[in-house]
């Protein structure tokens, strides 16, 4: 008998047709050409003026579509991030998806007491260690805005702390051209040289323009720095429906994409061919509480739409969010919202997915939430793999054996089961499927409690590959200078 070779369809979500995608893109171009934007960085303004942009009122810019076309052509379609030992870890291209944490939360839920308190530098270290120890979390962000470091260099301290506590790639924040240079210095030191960092970057900068349509000087300073040093960067703008942008999702996307395209154009003018991760953050402002949501279906929907636009038009890898919640504690709401965004991000093939572990609309971080998300990501990845159909999985021989095997013959005993169960089924670690009595005997723990224990176990047992002494010394030196 011939063996079956059928390609596996992998479940995929689509939310826009080609006409919709083109119409939103067209609206974005129209915003840039007709409405324009405010460019507060003198050199960026000059670059745009030199390239057919129309300038009025000092820094108001109107941009012709052909600049966008050029930038889309020169920006690389693939971005690779490496771990800190130089192994390729994140290949941002096509349909690959990677999850990581978020930055800057003001508060954290203490893992020992459960209390909500201001975050400190030690928390940044703990978050990085946890990320390092979880197999489905692919990159680290700070998760905290610690109160116990000098404010002027907060992002430098936070970066150093992450470097010390994980080997995975890092997505970092900086304030301006000043601190980003120091962060770049630390990163260069980790891989022993600026060229090596350029060749195998383990860092990506997350900066934000200001919706609607404003590009501050310090933000463009960072963007130009990254373009010239070839540090991958993304530049979402906070075009949230009803907040920084129109309440209707199409308009909010058009605005956010327009803002992203400005970033992309300046970026490619400053460093042609430098890596730019595309994508606005289009969440929604809640019309009762006025918070900008981190657990709403709107954000998941707009990023799925952006994935379709990537496939139809842009071809650049995209930035996304998942695994976060507006709930104040890790409860049923947090689980529901986290899972909703995690699975849809994967089903729509978002590429670099951040904010895993946020509670309270991004104000509070939670270690347990990340541990839980790690399992939810595993579940989602299992689902998206689809159903391979071939001789082995159709298992006709096993059916024959067991079917005709007489009384007592069961699939559980068959070799086919033994050989395949590991990849054929999803085997949860934290989601509880134990029988009632077993559950009760294990002190009737809920998922939160199990995540809490697992988190503590990882923080206690997981060993992060230590950095070389020279690197640590150089980091101390750079921090002292700050």
């Amino acid at each position: 008998m011939e063996s079956l070779e059928i390609p596996t369809f992998q479940p995929r979500l689509r939310v826009l047709n080609r006409e919709q995608a083109l119409a939103i893109h067209g609206a974005a171009l129209e915003i840039l050409e007709k409405t324009g934007f405010k460019m507060e960085h003198p050199r960026a303004l000059k670059m745009l003026a030199d390239r057919d942009c129309e300038i009025s009122d000092g820094d108001w810019v109107r941009m012709p579509p052909h600049l966008v076309e050029e930038a889309l052509k020169s920006a690389p379609k693939q971005i690779s991030l490496y771990d800190q030992k130089g192994a390729k870890a994140i290949d941002l291209t096509g349909e690959n998806s990677f999850y990581g944490t978020g930055s800057d939360a003001t508060f954290t839920r203490d893992v020992e007491t459960g209390e909500r308190r201001r975050a400190v530098l030690k928390d940044v270290g703990n978050f990085a260690t946890l990320v390092d120890g979880l197999e489905n979390i692919d990159f680290a962000m700070s998760m905290a805005n610690p109160e116990d470091v000098p404010i002027d260099d907060i992002y430098v301290y936070v970066f150093a702390e992450m470097v010390k506590n994980t080997t995975k790639p890092i997505v970092f924040i900086a304030d301006s051209g000043r601190d980003i240079a120091k962060i770049h210095e630390i990163a260069s030191s980790v891989v022993r040289g600026e060229e090596e960092l350029q060749r195998k970057p383990f860092i990506l900068n997350y900066s934000e323009a200001i919706s609607p349509l404003r590009f501050p000087e310090n933000v463009m300073e960072k963007l130009i720095f990254c373009a010239q040093k070839q540090i991958p960067l993304c530049l979402p703008s906070g075009s949230n429906a009803g907040g920084g942008a129109p309440v209707t999702l199409a308009g909010a996307m058009a605005l956010g994409i327009a803002e992203n395209l400005v970033g992309l154009v300046v970026h490619q003018l400053a460093g042609k061919g430098s890596p730019f991760l595309f994508g606005p953050n289009v969440s929604a402002l809640d019309m009762r509480s006025s918070v900008v949501c981190y657990g709403c279906p709107e954000w998941s929907l707009t990023q799925a739409a952006l994935a379709d636009m990537r496939d139809e038009i842009y071809g650049l890898p995209i930035w996304a969010f998942a695994g976060a919640s507006d709930s104040k504690v890790v409860d049923a709401q947090a689980g529901a919202e986290a899972m909703f965004s995690i699975i849809t991000a994967l089903l729509s093939r978002a590429n670099l997915i951040h904010d895993v572990g946020f509670l309270e609309y991004g104000s509070t971080s939670s270690l347990e939430m990340i541990t839980m998300a790690n399992e939810l990501i595993a579940m989602s990845r299992f689902y998206v793999k689809g159903i391979p159909v071939n001789d082995g999985t159709l298992a006709l021989e096993a059916i024959e054996r067991v079917g005709r095997g007489g009384p007592g013959s069961i699939f559980l005993m068959d070799d086919h089961t033994y050989d395949h169960f590991m990849e054929a089924l999803f085997l949860p670690k934290l989601l509880d499927r134990s029988r009632y009595d077993a559950w009760k005997d294990e002190s009737a723990m809920d998922l939160y409690k199990r995540c809490n224990m697992e988190t503590k176990r990882i923080l206690f047992e997981h060993e992060v590959a230590p950095k070389a002494d020279v690197v640590l010394k150089e980091i101390e030196h750079i921090l002292k200078r700050t």
Partner: protein
Amino acid sequence: MSDFKGLTEAVIKGDIQTAVAETQTALDAGANLQDILDKGLIAAMDQVGEKFSTGQMFVPQMLRSAKTMQECMKLIKPLFQEDELATKGKVVIGTVRQDLHDIGKNLVAMMMEGAGFAITDLGVDVSPKDFTQKAQEVGADIVAMSALLSTTMPAMRETIEALQEAGIRDKVKVMIGGAPVTENFASEIKADSYAPDAGSAVIAAKKLLSIS
């Protein structure tokens, strides 16, 4: 004439056309200006605030009511003699130095204006000096600061110090807010008041100036 029911209802509904017409009718009938303002417009906005905080109204509906009130004010304001218009108090508001978040601040400003405060909005990235100068210039009763970044929270303290140095700290009340700001932080930097959202900002402001 003391019944402003039609006007109040129109403001609550956010029906600009009807509200403006009702205002004109009241003016034509010779109603007292301060009464139209207090018993008509502001009374309506008080109800709006109440409905919003109990979840019966959404943010855009509340803002439409505020806009409706502003349109009515356009008819009334020119008829007041200078200084005769009794506002609830003068508020200088802004987002602090190096902070560019303005959506929350704008919302607070709109709500306070709706409640009858006279607002001077300094925008974003406002230095302690600019807050102080403006407060002096307009004779502010309240200086209201917004910060969304923990890195810009210290600018709130500096602004309070600047008010102190300019010798006007005891003449103004200081209100602060924004996502990372807490009650504790407010008392730590000796601000007079903190509020977690726009609705409670109005209540807090009224309390500060002992008005209802």
